[in-house]
Symmetry: C2
């Protein structure tokens, strides 16, 4: 398999989601043209992306949706399961634990942490909120691979430092600040306001509202 | 001002966030090189993006951070305020209402809706959960511009149909299904699992875990 450029990874998740929907609809094959239309990409882009991992559609038949999905999931690392912890047991932490799509994609939340004595010991579904003091011990014992920062911005850097000290290499940051981590640690940032801004950019430039 | 390609809009949000942080740190000017390094872009990309809206850095001085931020916010449509409603008063709905960053960017949640009689009438902060039955009337009265879908996947399409009927043109969809809307309606989809997949893709391809 050729080395896949990291820029492709964002599109892979979109291919994955689209293929899952197609399979649910009973679709066994799809052409690059159809796939491109569904995703708003160019056909040439789709063919190029898929060729990176050796998938070539058959003329007149297209790609086998099940096979393509399996390949993409292997590349995305979602054909395995991953142990995830969430730091911050607020509404966002609660929402993440109940977000079925994480489990469906192999991301299992195995622990949730907080520093608030009123929250520690309380249950969310099958999980009990754990004292942040016990974080490093838990990570070591439970072989956690991913930590999610779901705390207010003012605590995000401190939490990130603790995560790094624990030996976890992957962080998903929901806090709207940029955190500093040493080399070798990978951070994915989610800013909930970004889709809203994309939307208003499009609404404004489409003339629905004066600029 | 030249027409800005839509592909640039995603990056604009990142520029905006970065500039806000820089201004908080007291930085008055920044070169395209520094900005590029902070964001992981190429300098040439930054210069190209910024030139779209007529911003040119001064040699040896760079860009005025405050001016640049204001221009970007005007283009993103976040220099005005937008009226937003949330459909679905679960954990995600609660999290969104408490997410300060939306307010900071001019997105004001003015109503939250549910169909669950146990939830209707309850308070979240200053908002009272409203019966979905009264949605269209509320939208008309309150001049709502953006609707957020925060319901389970099985109800997402039905909710989307109601939103479209209400006359709202912009939808942010947190439900992990693709919704169908007529032309002229703009949908931004957020799939919470995507940053997790991006992360595991990078963790796997960096050799932290065998592929």
């Amino acid at each position: 398999m050729n080395k896949i450029p990291k820029t492709v990874s964002r599109r892979l998740s979109l291919y994955q989601r689209c293929l899952k929907n197609l399979i649910l609809q009973g679709k066994k094959n799809i052409s690059s043209k159809e796939l491109a239309e569904k995703l708003g990409f160019k056909s040439s882009q789709v063919r190029k992306d898929l060729s990176y991992f050796g998938a070539f559609g058959k003329r007149g038949v297209g790609y086998d949706t099940n096979y393509l999905l399996k390949m993409i999931e292997r590349i995305l690392g979602v054909n395995k399961s991953w142990s995830v912890v969430v730091i911050g047991a607020g509404n966002l932490g609660h929402a993440l634990i109940n977000y079925e799509i994480l489990k469906k994609n192999g991301f299992y939340i195995v622990g949730i942490f907080d520093i608030d004595p009123k929250k520690i010991g309380k249950k969310i579904g099958e999980l009990t909120i754990i004292n942040m003091k016990d974080f490093k011990e838990f990570v070591k014992k439970s072989k956690v691979e991913i930590a999610v920062i779901a705390v207010p911005p003012s605590s995000a850097q401190q939490v990130a430092d603790t995560i790094v000290e624990s030996g976890i290499k992957g962080i998903v940051n929901f806090s709207p600040v940029i955190i500093n981590v040493p080399q070798g640690i990978i951070v994915e940032e989610i800013d909930i306001s970004i889709p809203f801004k994309n939307l208003t950019f499009k609404l404004t430039s489409n003339g629905f509202r004066g600029a």
